[in-house]
Every structure is written in structure tokens, then in C-alpha cells.
């Protein structure tokens, strides 16, 4: 019950008029960025990170909660309306959601998605409130070797499990690790790969990397696609907003099943919500196949409800893992970790002791953020679609201006603007040739941690590598990692078949 009292204190901190304003602004901006084609929740958080530095930490994190959940919902809006999910986690919900939209049920698809996200997120957050402190106690058992095992776990999981091509995932991971070693080495003081440029001594700022990779890379990518067949068309939204009782009865169990599937995946760091969303999609599809009039392939409401709930449930418990273990399990969580560091806070077991007011305020703001989003989005979902009526060239011109502003505002260094352009070009190449972005972000965030823990462990053991696999925890982690890779390979083949089936069905219809 201690957790409840702490959460109560958190709510008292959060529920002030000015903080409510921040969460509202965050939710609106997050949804607005998430809605834009190609830009997702990770971009929303990255773009708004510099802006929040002028706030106090509590205000900033409350705004982040709004941005995060707003961005997640925005991912689904653009997926449902335009078939361009803002994030890979929204793909599974897009398959049926976009079909609902093209058959004139866009508003219902959006409502199903919003309610599903709300249910999944709330249930996951409740679990985080009760179990994150336990998780943090568990984390105190971790030494350097165990943390290294965790980091390796995250690296391999995100490059091998989540991505289409393991090779391309590893390529992105390698480029990210290379960028992460630039700067002064914290342990020995040696200057590494800086070519003597003093501006590089602190390393390359995470804001530069995220904005370059996600925002500028997307602008270049949109420019390169102009006038080619890959340009994405826009679909207008119409129809009634509220779900009928029959639709609600179909969706309600799917929301709960999706939540149940999504929750465990946020705690085990297998890298993001792609796996659970596709699992939820597969489950709903298989259950629905038993009915006589299966709606799958024609816009089944359960096909939206399940994955959306699963996605947000994973996002919720992933935040718990970030707070308690200091381990980001998705690109968005990685950026959030960077934000914590900007305020001199290190997420992990000690965070609950050192800054409990902040942790509980953040957890409380998750609840507030989700309620605000539901209120904001249920009636206004069709309005968001109107944002897409702004001409695309003005949208992306505006994004470029804000991206450059954000980078310049954090450092006031021209070199950072040059770096952001170079990384933007790398981001374009990655999009063009199918390299995933998430492994690179994880590598940049966790690379320094992996190196430090590796060197600490080796220093303790006087360079005997056996220490890396000497504790039961690290051995377990490596074994689980192997099992997860094998399991994901199996699951991926199956879900790929499911998707291939969906595509084949669609083609059969159109022909």
C-alpha cells in the first residue's frame, strides 16, 4: 500500500494548473507530430526534448508523458488514415485499421484505437506502480558483468529480433556504436576520434542524432520520393464516430486480450512492441476465423483493438523497466533515458531512492496523460485528420525549421548543425536501403554503458573474461537471450505468414 500513498503524492505534485497545461500541450503536440506521415512517437519526443529544457524537471517529464502517449496515438492515426504507420509498433493495427478507413469507417477505427490504447496503457501503468519498486530492489543485485549482459541482451534483441534483416539490424547497431565512442573516454581521459576538435570532446549530442536520424532523414526521404510511385496518398476520414453496441462487444475482449499479450513484453527487453502487436493481431485473426462471417481482410474491428491495446500495454511496462532497471527497451524509451541524463538523473534502482518525488510524479502523469488523451482524441479524432490537409511541402518545411531550431537551441554550435545534416543523410540512406533506426539509437544510448561495465568487470577480475559469465544472473540472461532469438525467429516466420496471408487476401479482393 506504500505504492498507493506514493502515487497519491505524485498526483498531488502533478495536478496543478500549470502542469495540467504542460500535459495538455504535450499531448496535443505529440499527437500532431505523430500524425505526420513518417514521423512517429520517437520523433515527437526527440523534437520536443530541446524545447522542454526550459522547464523544471517535473514539468518537463509531465509534458513528456503527454508527448509519448500522444505520439503513440498519432502513430496509429497516420497508419489508419494513410497506411503509413508512424512507428513499426503501429503496423499490426494498421493492417485492419486502414481497411476500416477505406471502407468509410475511419472514425470508428480511430475510436477503437484510442480506447484500446487507453485500456492497455492504464492496466500496464497500474502494474508498474505496484511492481517497479520490487523490480528496482531486484536490480540492486546487478553488478558490472550483469549490466553488460543486459546491454548485450538489448543490442542483440533489438537488432536481431525486431528487424526484418538481421544483417541490416547489426549494420545499424555497428554505426550507432561507432558514433557512441566519439569523445573523451570517461575512465582514462583519452581523447577518442575527435580529430582534435574541441567541440567533439563531449561526444555527439543525442538530440543531434535523434533529430538528424528521424526528422531530417525523413525530410530528405520525402524529397527523394517526390513524384515517384512511393509517394503516399492521403485518405479523408468520414462517417460516425461512436461505436455501436455490437462493435463494442466485439472490441472489448480484444482490448483485454491485447493488453494481456502486451504487458510481459515491456518488462523483458526484447526491443519494443512489434512482437506483441503482431502476436495480438495473429491471435485475433485466429479467433475470428472460427466465426461464420469473419471480418478479417475487410476491416475487422478486433484487428485494430488487439494490437493497439498490446502496443500501449508494452509501452507502459517498458517505462517501468526504464525507471527500475535503467534499460531502454524501445527507441522512445532510449530518448527518454537521454532526457533523464540531461537533468543529471540516472534511471535505475537508485532513482527510486534519490528522486522519489520525480518518479512518482512521472508515474502519476502517465495516468493523467492517458486520461487527457482519451478526452482529447475521442471527440477530436476526425479533426486530427484535417491536419493532413496542410500541404505536405509546408508540413516538412516547418519540420525542418523546428528540427534545426531544436538542435541549435541545445548547443548553439554550428558544428552540431553540420553533424545533424550528415546524420540526416545517413538516415535517408538507412530508409532507402531498409536499415532499421531503432538499433542505432539503442547503440548510442547503451554503448557507453556497455563499455564502462565491461571495463569495470575486467578491472575487478584482472582481465579474466570468465567473470562475464560467472554469476547466475548473467548466465540466465545470455541463455534467455538465445531462447528469445530462437523463439522470435520462429514467431517472425509465423507472423510473416500471417501478414502474407492478409496481403494475399487483399489482392484476391481487388482482382
Amino acid at each position: 500500500m506504500e505504492s498507493l500513498a506514493n502515487l497519491g503524492d505524485g498526483f498531488l505534485t502533478v495536478l496543478t494548473p500549470i502542469n495540467m497545461l504542460w500535459v495538455l500541450i504535450g499531448a496535443v503536440l505529440g499527437t500532431a507530430v505523430g500524425v505526420l506521415p513518417g514521423l512517429g512517437s520517437a520523433m515527437a519526443v526527440a523534437l520536443l526534448l530541446p524545447v522542454t529544457f526550459s522547464l523544471d524537471p517535473i514539468g518537463a517529464f509531465i509534458m513528456f508523458a503527454g508527448v509519448l502517449f500522444g505520439g503513440l496515438f498519432g502513430d496509429s492515426i497516420s497508419g489508419i488514415l494513410m497506411n503509413t504507420p508512424g512507428n513499426s509498433t503501429a503496423i499490426a493495427g494498421t493492417i485492419e485499421g486502414h481497411k476500416m478507413a477505406t471502407s468509410g469507417r475511419a472514425a470508428q477505427a480511430l475510436a477503437t484505437s484510442a480506447i484500446g490504447a487507453f485500456i492497455g496503457g492504464i492496466i500496464a501503468s497500474v502494474l508498474v506502480v505496484f511492481f517497479a519498486p520490487r523490480l528496482a530492489e531486484l536490480a540492486t543485485l546487478f553488478g558490472p558483468a550483469e549490466y553488460l549482459a543486459l546491454a548485450v541482451f538489448a543490442f542483440v534483441a533489438i537488432s536481431a529480433v525486431v528487424t526484418e534483416s538481421v544483417l541490416r539490424g547489426l549494420a545499424a547497431l555497428g554505426i550507432g556504436l561507432a558514433i557512441s565512442v566519439v569523445g573523451i573516454d570517461g575512465i582514462s581521459g583519452a581523447s577518442r576520434f575527435t580529430a582534435g576538435v574541441p567541440e567533439l570532446f563531449d561526444g555527439i549530442d543525442i538530440v543531434v542524432i535523434t533529430v538528424g536520424l528521424l526528422a531530417l532523414g525523413e525530410v530528405f526521404s520525402v524529397a527523394a520520393k517526390r513524384g515517384t510511385p512511393d509517394e503516399t496518398p492521403l485518405v479523408p476520414s468520414r462517417g460516425r464516430l461512436w461505436l455501436s453496441r455490437r462493435e463494442f462487444r466485439l472490441a472489448a475482449p480484444a482490448w483485454l486480450r491485447g493488453t494481456a499479450i502486451g504487458i510481459p513484453f515491456g518488462i523483458i527487453p526484447v526491443g519494443g512492441a512489434e512482437v506483441p502487436t503482431f502476436l495480438a493481431y495473429g491471435t485475433e485473426r485466429r479467433l475470428d476465423a472460427r466465426r461464420k462471417d469473419s471480418m478479417f481482410g475487410r476491416g475487422a474491428i478486433q484487428g485494430v483493438a488487439g494490437p493497439e491495446a498490446a502496443g500501449n500495454a508494452t509501452a507502459g511496462t517498458a517505462m517501468g523497466a526504464l525507471l527500475a532497471l535503467g534499460l531502454p527497451t524501445s527507441a522512445t524509451a532510449a530518448i527518454l533515458l537521454a532526457a533523464f541524463r540531461q537533468y543529471g538523473l540516472q534511471p535505475g534502482p537508485l532513482l527510486f531512492e534519490r528522486a522519489p518525488d520525480l518518479v512518482w510524479a512521472l508515474l502519476a502523469s502517465f495516468f493523467v496523460g492517458m486520461v487527457v488523451l482519451l478526452i482529447l482524441n475521442l471527440p477530436f479524432a476526425p479533426l486530427w485528420a484535417k491536419l493532413l490537409k496542410v500541404p505536405r511541402h509546408y508540413l516538412y518545411a516547418g519540420i525542418s525549421v523546428f528540427a534545426m531550431l531544436g538542435v541549435y537551441a541545445t548547443s548553439a554550435k554550428i558544428l552540431d548543425l553540420v553533424l545533424v545534416t550528415v546524420i540526416g543523410l545517413i538516415g535517408f540512406l538507412m530508409r532507402r536501403y531498409g536499415l532499421p533506426v531503432a538499433p542505432m539509437l539503442i547503440a548510442i544510448i547503451l554503448g557507453p554503458l556497455a563499455e564502462t561495465e565491461f571495463r569495470r568487470a575486467m578491472a575487478v577480475s584482472e582481465s579474466d573474461p570468465a567473470i562475464l559469465v560467472s554469476s547466475p544472473i548473467s548466465v540466465t540472461l545470455y541463455v534467455v537471450l538465445l531462447l528469445a532469438v530462437a523463439g522470435a525467429a520462429f514467431q517472425k516466420i509465423r507472423s510473416r505468414r500471417t501478414v502474407a496471408q492478409a496481403i494475399a487476401d487483399r489482392q484476391r479482393e481487388t482482382v
Binding site: V51, S54, S165, L167, L170, A171, G174, I175, L177, A178, V181, I187, S188, G189, A190, R192, F193, L216, F220, V222, A223, A224, K225, R226, G227, T228, P229, E231, K389, V390, P391, R392, H393, Y394, Y396, A397, S400, V401, F402, M404, L405, A409, A412, I414, T421, G424, L425, I426, F428, L429, R432, G447, E451, F454, R455, M458, A459, Q507, T510, V511
Partner: protein, 196 residues
């Protein structure tokens, strides 16, 4: 359709182009880039000046591991691109004819096609960003930001250059007012110093 970018009414037709060996393997840019990164890591690691106080394992171990990873993956990726090139087919936009079906050949089978890039638009966007960076300190945020907005909009297909000038200046001014005057960010004033 008002507000949505107007595109010429075209249908998409898969056209087999007798493409060269390299055109289907432009993906080699990525392993090439990784090769450069890997070699830079190797050179930087070998020439690194390590302080005498450094304890083992020193600052060179981890970069060496990363360099090995980058180089090995670069080679494997290059082999993958060479062995499995992109499709030879590209789509060429042709004047619309009613009843045409996208992405299908005569038998109604989907055609695998290679993505094409609009290099002029890409270079336009990149050039604009370069000009913006060069102009930021001498011209100041307001003018450079307007150049950035105008140039990106133009590269992405805006048809109204004169209207865009005013829109770009308006956006840039709003940002200057909101972030510089409002939130206290330090934006370079440039030649307009003293006015703001």
C-alpha cells in the same frame, strides 16, 4: 483536393528497363559507408594517445571490438547486396488511362519493382540545409530560417514561390518571437541585430 499537393494525374505502369549491374546494387553505398567508418575507427584506435595512467583494459579495447563488428558486417552486407540485388523493374509515370490497375502486369500478378529516387528534389533539400547553415551566423536566424523554410517547400514541390517568401518570413518571425523573446533561447540576430 484543395490543400493537398497536386500531382499530375498519372497511372503507374511497371516498365522493365535494361538496367546496368550497378543500378540495381546502389545499396553498396551502405557497406561502403561502413567500410569508411570501420577504417576511421581502426586508424583512430591505432593512433590514439593513451594516458600513462590508463588501467587495463584501456580506452582502445572497446573501439577495436566495434571496428571489427562494423567491418565484418560491412563485408557480409556487401555480399548480401551483390547476391540479392533490387528488382530490375522501375515504374515510369505515364498519362492516365481509365481502368488501369496499379502494380500489376498482364496476368494480374504483382510486379516487384525497385524504388526510384528524385535526385533533384533530394539535392534541393540538401542544398537548402547547407545554405541555411552557412547563412545562420552572418544573416541571423530570421532570414536564414526563412531561407530554410522556403527552400525545403520548394524542393518538395511548392508551386507558389512568391507566396512562400511571405509565409517563410512569417513562420521564421513567429519562431523568433516565441522562442527568443518568449522562452529566452539565444538565436543569432545577424544583420538584423538591434531590430530585435
Amino acid at each position: 483536393m484543395s490543400g493537398v499537393i497536386r500531382t499530375v494525374s498519372v497511372t503507374r505502369r511497371a516498365v522493365v528497363v535494361a538496367d546496368g549491374f550497378w543500378r540495381r546494387r546502389t545499396g553498396l553505398i551502405v557497406p561502403g559507408l561502413m567500410l569508411v567508418i570501420g577504417l576511421a575507427l581502426v586508424v583512430g584506435t591505432v593512433t590514439m594517445r593513451v594516458p600513462d595512467t590508463a588501467t587495463s583494459p584501456g580506452p582502445q579495447v572497446f573501439p577495436a571490438i566495434v571496428a571489427a563488428l562494423v567491418l565484418v558486417v560491412a563485408v557480409l552486407l556487401a555480399i548480401d547486396v551483390l547476391r540479392r540485388p533490387e528488382a530490375a523493374t522501375v515504374e515510369i509515370a505515364q498519362p492516365a488511362a481509365p481502368g488501369d490497375v496499379d502494380d500489376l502486369d498482364l496476368d494480374g500478378e504483382p510486379v516487384e519493382r525497385r524504388p526510384t529516387s528524385n535526385h533533384r528534389a533530394l539535392l534541393g533539400a540538401l542544398g537548402t540545409v547547407v545554405v541555411f547553415i552557412a547563412a545562420l551566423t552572418p544573416l541571423g536566424w530570421l532570414l536564414a530560417g526563412a531561407v530554410l523554410f522556403w527552400g525545403i517547400a520548394r524542393a518538395l514541390g511548392s508551386q507558389r514561390p512568391v507566396f512562400d517568401v511571405f509565409l517563410a518570413l512569417a513562420i521564421s518571425s513567429i519562431v523568433q518571437l516565441a522562442f527568443s523573446a518568449g522562452l529566452g533561447l539565444n538565436l543569432p540576430p545577424g544583420i538584423l541585430e538591434g531590430i530585435f
